[in-house]
Symmetry: C2
Subunit: 153 residues, 2 copies
DNA sequence: AAATCAGTTGCAAATGGTTTGCAATTAAAA
DNA sequence: TTTTAATTGCAAACCATTTGCAACTGATTT
């Protein structure tokens, strides 16, 4: 149950073939909309909302609902990770094979710009919290908020 | 800008008079619904959703919308703190005078039971993150999830 | 290559949390 | 008690997300 917080986003872009392979293995169809969505995720280093993905898509490529369904499915297969920046809109990021995608962000509260963070909540402290309360399988959700250099001016 | 993560929930219950005083000072009216809402918050150690507050209220005491508006106002005055457990429903907890209410929770993913946590994200690491990215006014949102003792059985 | 079938899609409509418009009401100041 | 700004209830609007369903399409089989 090791946390691997560091450097996910430094990994090299995943091949589209590897992604479609993962789908095929789960007997999921590689459709136009799905390929397009994966392409967009592949080229984006930051978590995207479904609307943002929709906006990137060539108009008419697919319905917004299809994106919602695709993200649900990709999340279930562990191919994307859902993030919650507290604004009531889910964001998704592609996850590498064998990775759990666990990491955190620093979000500018003025411009909503996002920086990925390598730091993670210290494992020993988390273990202490789990033990003290006799909880098992403890993880955390953690995001940082502040004002980015540009927005400070 | 000191974080005071520990022991908020061990503080003794706030007097209703102190709460209404804070409202009066801001030229807010002490109405039946508001007094009732504050009473409920005062007696609850854990974050409550608006619906939960509504359910605790004697039927017909006030409209759900009134609770939404009251919570918005109380949050603006810094009298309650909003928490986000990632289930798309806001939760609120009363905050002591002079306190910023910053603290975290350990939430059971099976029964949604909540435990308040004294631990906080280490200040030096947060400062390092802020400095490394030249962000100012950095805070964090942090919640832990796991399976509570009862639900492990 | 055509048939087959489970998995997919689009569209419309439903959900669920939260917000807003507005006229009627009321707490607190004068 | 009068006056006035703040507050409330109700209905409707909003927004992100989900769901029902009939039409459709990849991928596999024949």
């Amino acid at each position: 149950m090791k946390k691997t917080c560091a450097h996910h986003h430094h990994e090299k872009k995943q091949e589209l073939a590897s992604l479609t392979g993962r789908l095929r293995r789960e007997s999921r169809k590689i459709t136009g909309p799905r390929a397009a969505i994966l392409e967009i995720l592949r080229h984006h280093p930051h978590p995207l909302t479904n609307k943002e993905i929709f906006a990137e898509l060539p108009k008419g490529e697919c319905d917004l609902v299809t994106i919602y369904r695709a993200m649900q499915m990709l999340e279930k297969l562990g191919m994307v990770k859902r993030f919650d920046f507290g604004d009531g809109t889910a964001r998704f990021e592609l996850v590498g094979e064998g990775d759990d995608g666990h990491h955190h962000h620093l979000i500018c509260t003025r411009c909503t710009g996002v920086v990925e963070i390598d730091e993670c909540f210290p494992e020993e402290i988390e273990r202490r919290i789990a033990r003290a309360n006799r909880f098992t399988g403890v993880t955390h959700r953690l995001e940082f908020f502040g004002v980015c250099p540009d927005c400070q001016k």
